[in-house]
């Protein structure tokens, strides 16, 4: 039973339950109302409506899982940074579970804060940018399955989005547009510089990232996540494509914008970068979305290079997938608290002179492996 069938079962049961009450209510009404009730009930029980509701329930499941993971990720982020910098991190809120509830408390605090729009800001862009940023980041998760059975599939038979990996990469790279929009509409020099930096940074990391992903597509022969992961059942792709794996991780850090590459929000130079003018829960959403993107990035690296949900069978596939994504995130955090931020010119030089040749070399290796007949 895959996620679609599970959700379909839930929806079917719920609709049946509601329809019973609905028809029962209709019996008390005069005939013209009763017919209308019956028509609505019949529509609710129709196959198209059930399919639509199933998709909605699936999205809710995926988003809820993503948000729980985000809480975990933020907790790991704060705890690990604390230990590396020799302090405790979150401690008292949720004392018995290591301060896990601190992020919930912070979120509640942010929720009760006022939403302030600067007077001279472009109001539409200012309010639209967080929506695009958060929405595009959550859209990435729609196509990444945790296992063969656990993911948003397009049909009852369990077929997945055929170009899921391409869709994930495309959704990933919408964010710089939202950042540029936020930076421009805030009408503030810091935010504008942050937004421009985000666009300039995208020039440098996007091409090596896509080239590394392309080498994986070349070896797997598919854009579909399930088929890519199935192709790694023998050997995980990070062994033959080790250069590509490293380059991919570096580009992913730049994509997620965590510290060595967090040029758009450089606290030391620009006050808070492109989020300077945002306060309250909008800032909280940006903070949360960084974790969502870390989670999506970890999942992407896991699916493309680390063998997805393959692992010893004493744990479920989904758990293996999550463990690998968490390990990738932990390595990100380790690197984040170890190295300083690079300059924007260094970023461009690094991207074009180092990462791009390595990515092309990696693509050549993949082509050689494919034409040699090993894959």
């Amino acid at each position: 039973m895959n996620l679609y069938q599970f959700c379909y079962g839930i929806v079917h049961w719920l609709v049946g339950l509601v329809n019973n009450i609905w028809y029962w209510l209709g019996d008390f009404l005069p005939w013209y109302f009763g017919d209308l009730f019956t028509a609505i009930g019949n529509f609710a029980a129709s196959e198209g409506h059930l399919w639509f509701m199933t998709l909605l329930v699936e999205s809710v499941v995926v988003v809820v899982i993503a948000l729980i993971n985000v809480l975990n990720f933020l907790w790991i982020f704060r705890k690990l940074s604390g230990r590396i910098l020799d302090f405790y991190g979150p401690y008292y809120v949720g004392y018995r579970i290591g301060g896990w509830l601190q992020n919930l408390a912070d979120g509640m605090k942010l929720f009760i804060k006022e939403i302030i729009v600067p007077t001279k800001a472009d109001r539409l862009g200012f309010l639209l940018a967080p929506v695009i940023f958060v929405g595009s980041s959550l859209t990435i998760l729609a196509v990444i399955p945790f296992s063969v059975d656990f993911g948003i599939s397009t049909s009852e038979s369990g077929e997945y989005v055929s170009a899921g990996a391409l869709f994930a990469l495309a959704a990933f790279s919408i964010a710089p547009f939202a950042i540029l929009l936020a930076g421009w509409s805030s009408n503030n020099k810091y935010t504008l510089i942050g937004g421009m930096r985000s666009a300039a940074q995208m020039m440098s990391y996007e091409i090596p990232l896509i080239l590394c992903a392309a080498s994986v597509f070349l070896l797997a022969g598919s854009f579909n996540f399930v088929e890519i992961v199935d192709a790694q059942s023998g050997i995980w792709f990070f062994i033959p494509l080790f250069i590509g794996f490293v380059v991919f991780l570096i580009c992913l850090m730049a994509e997620v914008e965590i510290i060595p590459f967090d040029l758009p929000e450089a606290e030391a130079e620009l006050v808070e970068g492109w989020t300077t003018e945002y306060g309250g829960m909008r800032f909280g959403l940006f903070y949360m979305t960084t974790a969502v993107r870390s989670y999506a990035g970890g999942a992407l690296a896991t699916a493309l290079f680390l063998g997805g949900w393959h692992g010893p069978s004493f744990l479920p596939d989904e758990i293996w997938f999550l463990i690998k994504a968490y390990i990738v995130f932990t390595v990100f955090m380790w690197l984040t608290w170890s190295v300083p931020r690079i300059r924007i010119d260094q970023m461009l030089v690094f991207g074009w002179r180092r990462l791009l040749p390595l990515a092309v070399l990696n693509l050549l290796i993949a082509a050689a492996l494919k034409s040699g007949g090993w894959f």
Partner: protein, 302 residues
């Protein structure tokens, strides 16, 4: 050419990761982070920390030097009745004005006032911050640690016992005792040069009347003023001697000043004040008490 090595991946990325990895292992697996979780556990403060005051009632002589030296005017002398010590004057502190400079503890001539390491002094009422002498009383606090104020053994004179035999001046190996005549009294008193004194203690051993005793005296960090007597104005009332907290003033009779009474007998002779400066703490209470302007003490407010 440039001698600096070009930074490479190892130096820029891998070495820092090694360092932070070690730190992570140290704080996560092997031990705990450096943080002191304040409400549960407190930092072990050094003894020189300047927190709430502690006053030793038995050592304090009530001279009021702390009140005088306090830059914020946050101390005052309060009359207290103690079953053991009787009616005494002891200083109180207003912590709301105190800036914890520690001058009061440093100026105290008998080291009766200390600053403890207690720092949780916040209160919601300003009146509760005005601590009376009884609030800061802690007679045993001085015994809990080793006092670091410099102290030295010096001979201290009890002028009522001294008969001016000059034996101490003869015994002193540093030649720092000189017998000086006291004006109009016909007596002599040993003047001890404390700068030269090396604390041999021979003067105290030889003194036949036990007038000189070797006493531990704390060095003062402050240049305290000294009283000077203007003999012409002194009426011999003895108010200064009663006011002196360290009993450094003696009233001596001046022979030859007796008045002839009506019945032909001679009355009591006039008295004058004599200061023993080794005992003086420089508080200026004699200067403030004298009604005849007979004491001059530059640097003290009247």
């Amino acid at each position: 050419m440039d001698d600096r090595r070009k930074p490479r991946t190892t130096g820029v990325v891998l070495n820092p990761m090694k360092r932070t990895g070690k730190q992570l292992v140290r704080t996560l697996i092997l031990g705990k982070p450096n943080t002191v979780l304040y409400p549960e556990e407190k930092l072990d403060l050094p003894q020189v920390y300047r927190g709430k005051h502690a006053l030793d009632f038995k050592k304090c002589i009530g001279c009021g030097n702390c009140v005088v030296v306090c830059p914020n005017d946050c101390m005052w002398l309060e009359k207290v009745e103690d079953p053991e010590l009787g009616k005494i004057e002891r200083p109180g502190v207003d912590l709301g004005r105190c800036m914890f400079c520690g001058f009061c503890a440093e100026v105290c001539p008998t080291v009766a006032l200390h600053m403890t390491t207690e720092f949780e002094l916040a209160d919601s009422d300003r009146e509760n911050l005005r601590l009376s002498p009884l609030d800061i009383r802690d007679d045993s606090f001085g015994e809990t640690f080793v006092e670091e104020r410099e102290k030295r053994l010096v001979p201290v004179l009890d002028l009522s016992k001294c008969d001016g035999c000059e034996k101490c001046a003869g015994e002193c190996p540093e030649m720092c005792i000189a017998m000086m005549p006291i004006e109009n009294t016909g007596r002599k008193k040993p003047e001890i040069n404390l700068v030269k004194c090396k604390s041999h203690g021979k003067c105290a051993e030889t003194c036949p009347e036990k007038a000189l005793t070797m006493t531990e005296v704390y060095e003062s960090y402050f240049d305290m003023p000294e009283p000077k007597l203007i003999l012409d104005n002194c009426s011999g009332c003895g108010l200064c001697a009663r006011k002196c907290p360290s009993e450094a003033i003696y009233m001596l009779e001046m022979p030859g000043t007796e008045k002839t009474l009506k019945n032909g007998k001679k009355g009591k002779p006039k008295k004058r004040a004599v200061f023993v400066l080794e005992k003086c703490v420089g508080c200026g209470r004699c200067y403030q008490a004298c009604k005849f302007d007979a004491i001059d003490m530059p640097g003290v407010r009247k």
